[in-house]
């Protein structure tokens, strides 16, 4: 029996390495999940005189999509969001992270605007409060203002239909 031990240890090691091989080290679990979204008060991208705060959005289920005009993979994600909003009664707010207004507005003009409103986070301060480290990132926030999900990296059609959309639908039914 004892001579099977090395084989067993080897098999365990292989199992660990195999699992490790398929995990993305860039997907760091967010400590914000299940907690109230950090407070913010930001001006609208299209209108610097209007401010939107976290508390104004209480009672809404919304996606907070962190993007920027300099972000390359945001281009892959963007048409998926545009299409999603067109077909479904959902609210997406954009968080324009460390960007300039003219570039961001031109970007939305060119690629379409899926956002209820885009919030302008020029110095990335709100991004830091949300623990943003790789744009694009997307948070799902429920009616009580609690963060329920975080997606790091671009949203793929699969992630949207299998995870995000059903989750938003369920959260919208909550009172």
């Amino acid at each position: 029996m004892s001579r099977f031990w090395p084989l067993a240890i080897f098999a365990a090691l292989v199992a660990f390495l195999y699992v490790g091989l398929h995990r993305d080290p860039h997907e760091v679990p967010s400590p914000l999940i299940g907690k109230p979204a950090p407070a913010f008060a930001l001006t609208r991208l299209d209108d610097p005189s209007k401010t939107i705060t976290r508390d104004q959005l209480l009672g809404h289920v919304y996606m907070l999509n962190v993007w920027a005009s300099w972000c390359v993979s945001c281009r892959d994600e963007h048409p998926i969001l545009v299409e999603y909003v067109r077909r479904n009664p959902v609210e997406i707010y954009g968080l324009d992270y460390k960007d300039t207004r003219p570039e961001a507005l031109a970007w939305l003009d060119q690629l379409g605007n899926p956002y209820q409103a885009a919030l302008f986070d020029s110095d990335g301060r709100v991004g830091i409060n949300f623990g943003v480290y790789g744009v694009p990132e997307t948070f799902i926030i429920d009616k009580k203002g609690v963060v329920r999900y975080k997606q790091t990296g671009p949203i793929s059609p699969e992630v949207l239909t299998n995870t995000l959309a059903p989750m938003i639908q369920n959260l919208q039914k909550e009172s």
Partner: protein, 169 residues
């Protein structure tokens, strides 16, 4: 043919000189970027660097916030300076970071039920290794005892062989 060769050679030379010039020019630019404005208070900066040295940069995960050139790392260094100016303690600053980025930002992970294996795994491996080593040496000693139990004929034969070998130059 020779002329073409000369032209090519000249182009090559220009290319090399250009590359070298670019390289030389880029060095001071790169080092100029390293000096991120953190104020001119050496104490605040020293404290910031001490904290930044134990925080992981999430963009380039094998670097600390102190080492990394990523934009986010620079932002977080400035954030630490700001928190120091607000009179926050080291622990409060660490809490600020973990509240946003999770325990993963800490180069020294905290002791929790989920990190017990991380902390004591190496010790566990040493213990397993020690036990295995002890048991295998015990086995070998027992085998050694078996060898000692030779018949007198075997022993004299062994002695003979050993002596003959050792008497050779």
């Amino acid at each position: 043919m020779q002329r073409m060769k000369n032209v090519l050679l000249r182009h090559f030379k220009i290319g090399v000189v250009g590359c070298l010039t670019a390289l030389v020019l880029s060095v001071p630019v790169a080092s100029a970027k390293e000096a991120i404005p953190v104020g001119n208070e050496p104490l605040v900066q020293a404290r910031m660097m001490r904290l930044a040295n134990v925080l992981r940069c999430l963009v380039c995960q094998n670097q600390t916030i102190a080492d990394s050139h990523a934009d986010l790392a620079a932002d977080l260094r400035n954030q630490i300076v700001e928190l120091i100016h607000q009179g926050k303690s080291d622990d409060e600053i660490m809490d600020y970071m973990t509240a946003r980025y999770g325990d993963f930002v800490l180069y020294r992970p905290p002791m929790k039920t989920s990190t017990v294996l991380l902390w004591f795994g190496p010790l566990l491996l040493v213990v397993i290794g020690g036990v295995t080593l002890y048991r295998s040496t015990q086995n070998r000693q027992r085998e050694g005892d078996d060898i000692a139990a030779l018949t007198p004929e075997q022993k004299s034969l062994a002695d003979q062989l050993l002596n003959r070998k050792s008497s050779k130059p």
